[in-house]
Symmetry: C2
Subunit: 370 residues, 2 copies
């Protein structure tokens, strides 16, 4: 499951090895997002070429379309998607509570209308585990209740308590399976309230979980509060648990969170920004759609060894964006995911060589908003 390999001396950064039924990977690691069963703009072959070890799939979305029965008929999520490595399925609590079609939450689960056809659905903590197991996930993530920022203490407390109750119900259901194929992570909620976060943490640890997900952050709160929460959680958490910061982040955010002891990330940022024309480079993000790149015959990032940087100019990529060629989505997403992969590799190399603080400093001094 998770083995802690090394701890940084100057920060709380760590190196680890995470093992699931579908493979081993080194942490800190970044998982691209395949919300609906595909990474936008990248084939599994390209993900393999880049060296991607794991993906996040949204169980709520694939439950809605194409449905668990289709995926089961095709041999489970890995075979269906043609991706043989680790897949974590997020339950989709965040999506369900964010959607306009959210209807009602009770202690036994959540009622909502499908975002596709308006049909009413009910999901319980138990059924969300069953769905993920039938999908053939590597990591079950229970249904949770995520509150907005800001939320009152009272609202955050109710949601935190419910998240814990649901995690316990989910774990009981999960424990019936003895295949050994699935890991179980629990989500820590509690908004920006230290005692709620601590309460959640203590309660989920009683459940004999395989990893801790940090949810309900990066939802609009000031960065200082965010990192206070991370620090609090990671200080209180036994160091042998893998720590997964869900839905985070930009390169500078990842560096900060790694410094606080986070092991795993997922985020739509590299693909979403890529397909709209913003790319990551050593010198910061650039909007390659912009006019200054019209005749720029240089690669996106001179220091990047990816297929796109070795073969295409900014001018060509800008042209593809301007004329709405689908190849722009493919090439810019490829570069961004490759760039993130290399970035995580460099973070691990720096921790290994005991120069993570220096790496972070050097990286940030080059990396500017343009």
């Amino acid at each position: 499951m998770f083995t802690l390999i090394k701890e940084d001396k100057e920060t709380k950064a760590r190196l680890g090895l995470f093992e699931t039924y579908h493979g081993k990977l080194q942490t800190p690691s970044f998982f691209p997002v395949a919300t609906q069963g595909a990474v936008k703009g990248l084939s599994p072959k390209e993900l393999e070429e880049i060296g991607i070890d794991g993906l996040l799939v949204n169980a709520y979305h694939v439950h809605m379309r194409p449905g668990v029965s289709v995926i089961k008929a095709c041999g489970g999520l890995h075979k269906f998607m043609g991706f043989p490595k680790t897949i974590i399925t997020d339950s989709g609590g965040y999506q369900i509570f964010s959607l306009e079609n959210f209807r009602k939450v009770t202690d036994s689960g959540v009622t909502f209308r499908s975002h596709i056809d308006g049909k009413e659905f009910f999901l319980s903590p138990e059924s969300m585990v069953e769905i993920q197991q039938e999908l053939g996930t590597d990591v079950v993530v229970p249904l949770d209740e995520c509150v907005k920022y800001p939320s009152s203490y009272a609202d955050a407390a109710v949601a935190a308590k419910r998240t814990i109750d649901w995690a316990a119900k989910a774990k009981s259901y999960y424990d019936k399976d003895t295949s050994g194929k699935f890991l179980f992570f629990a989500i820590i909620q509690g908004s920006v309230y230290p005692d709620l976060r601590k309460f959640c943490l203590e309660e989920v640890l009683k459940l004999n979980i395989d990893g801790a997900c940090i949810g309900g952050l990066s939802v609009g709160e000031p960065k200082e509060l965010r990192y206070n929460m991370l620090s609090l959680i990671n200080s209180a958490l036994d160091k042998n648990y893998i720590r997964y910061f869900m839905g985070y982040g930009l390169p500078e955010d990842i560096l900060e969170a790694v410094s606080e002891g986070i092991d795993l990330f997922d985020c739509v940022v590299p693909t979403r920004l890529g397909r709209t024309g913003t790319v990551f480079t050593r010198g910061g993000k650039i909007v390659v759609r912009n006019a200054p790149y019209a005749k720029d015959n240089t690669p996106l990032d001179e220091t990047c060894p990816c297929y796109v940087c070795r073969n295409f100019s900014r001018a060509y990529l800008r042209h593809l964006l301007n004329v709405n060629e689908v190849l722009s989505v493919q090439l810019l997403s490829y570069h961004n995911i490759f760039w993130y992969k290399q970035f995580m590799d460099k973070i691990r190399e720096a921790i290994t060589a005991e120069r993570f603080s220096q790496f972070k400093k050097d990286f940030l001094s080059n990396y500017k908003e343009k």
Copy 2:
């Protein structure tokens, strides 16, 4: 340029070798279309993997966006696009005359409004050659006037005459270049009127051209008339000229045109149909978007060795289409282009083995509309 290798005994099918400044390829061959400088949904790396020897780019489109100066600044079309093999540039006469923004045609050229910003442009036969040379094409195709079907004899005669005059002007301009980098094809127009087609053919042959393009067919005329024209042209044309049927066709059409002696094809069909959910298989086209494929765990075509058929089910591809994942465009276009490539390979193998008629018969007996 073009070397005739073998002629079929039962049909007019031929094997040939076509050589340009950027490579050699065997004919009959099919060129995918990269209208705006990219094949929709496929990277140059994927085109290479599939074994694509050549592309058709639309000079009118890339002249409008990003403009010749951008492409020149990036080292010409091959470097700009990252495609090192043969590129034919169509002048875009067909597009200009089809567009609503077409304004006026005179003997010296055509005035039209850009389809992007409405700005007025004038293109002459000479400037169209210059544009294509500056792009760094392998094959210059002169500006022509294409008439609709049906057209009166008088209208078709005016357009045919003008096409010939423009071809002569284009050739005079072209002849000033002594780099040896560019070939020159001429377009044969004349609608469905045998004497106009014959007139065009005789006139362009006086220009010392490198190949003959057949234009103005597959614009709505009955198939019988189309093949009569092909037969007439190819019978009258010295067998050492390469024969390029522009903007054609479906697999069954290609078989028929090859039987009439056509060497080269381009068509948007495999990419256009692919991205909207229709794929080519040994048994005919299938619309994988349709409900019967919802739980179909078989590949698009059991006999196809492409990446998509080896790794993904119809059910997965249908799901991607249903949820508008860009990966559907990528994978379905890949399969269709791969399938076309293999189809052309099989045609050449059959001609080589002197069993082309049998191949055609067998293929058509399996290939049904579904």
